[in-house]
Symmetry: C2
Subunit: 203 residues, 2 copies
């Protein structure tokens, strides 16, 4: 993050102020219109900077979103890896992967960010993250029979969200201390059933 | 809530102030030492009132706890009903019962209370509620083989917590709009497997 050039409007001096202004504008914009409809240009305008500076600081729109949510990694990187996993192993693989990230030092700020999103009066940003980033990638992988993917992915999200809440936010024992592999073996099949099981879904 | 007698120390005038002082003291005490160890006497002392007044306003310690957490009903009433449900139907029954409560008008303040507990820097009160009230009742019902009840109940709590977060806090579609019976039929079997399934638990 070197180089102090690039601010056109000069509304805020210094890199740190500019970065924060971009992140603030991004959070507002993503919450207002969602991930897909929020353009880098509109975020740059709201922050009073050139769009090129947003790309310079944050890279892609996915990476900007990850930074706005204080995620330790671009979720796209992890999600795109799921497509290569055999469908029959997706549940266990996802539980193992996400719990490992939460438990890592890099996961701490992400857990804190998710907690503050849950506490927010407006859950739009958290919902946008789930609907337009996470579930959008998972849905087509599990859409069999066609039309069931949205419910399958959302049910899996409900189990993972609850695992995050009990293990990392409430730190509820014995869940908080269970080894990753034990969680993968016990909770993985829950996700697997939601993904590929014969569910009594309506319509 | 009539009657203004009973305040001994007279630290706070009026019923409403006294009730709030008791609830504040209860929240602090339950968070400090847990449900079991927090006595009505110690809560009354901290609130500067006679223990009889705590009973007069709130009834049992369970009912005081429910009031401190702004729960719409004494959870004990619901939990004690679970013991009579056939073990093989426990998962579906619990999902149907708790989702129905969340969705009712009385559930709204409870959902709000849970959200603020999740957001709190100190998750002790939420953990106390789960460990000493909810899971304590469920554990003995599902402790087969002996010693597995704590993990079984906590895993079920993780799925229910996530259902609450996605349906009521994030209002994530399509989960937010799924009929109670569809959730009971799809998520109920998850709880059932945690309760009575052959889980690969360690130790």
């Amino acid at each position: 993050m070197t180089g102090s050039n690039g601010t056109r409007s000069g509304r805020r001096p210094g890199n740190s102020g500019t970065r924060e202004a971009i992140l603030d504008a991004a959070r507002v914009r993503f919450a207002e219109v969602g991930f897909d409809k929020a353009s880098i240009r509109s975020i740059a305008t709201a922050a009073g900077v050139d769009p090129a500076l947003v790309h310079h600081y944050f890279g892609t729109k996915h990476q900007l979103f990850a930074a706005a949510l204080q995620l330790p990694v671009d979720p796209q990187t992890i999600l795109s890896g799921f497509a290569a996993v055999p469908r029959t192993e997706l549940g266990t693989h996802i539980v193992r992967t996400v719990v490992t990230i939460w438990d890592s030092p890099a996961g701490m700020p992400a857990v804190a960010a998710i907690r503050s999103l849950l506490a927010s009066d407006d859950p739009t940003l958290a919902r946008t993250f789930l609907l337009e980033i996470v579930l959008k990638e998972i849905r087509p992988l599990v859409d069999s029979p066609p039309g069931t993917g949205a419910k399958r992915a959302a049910l899996a999200a409900s189990q993972l969200a609850g695992l995050l809440v009990t293990r990392k936010i409430l730190r509820l024992e014995p869940i908080a201390s269970m080894p990753v592999e034990e969680l993968a073996a016990t909770v993985g099949p829950t996700l697997q059933r939601y993904f590929t099981g014969d569910l009594p879904l309506q319509n």
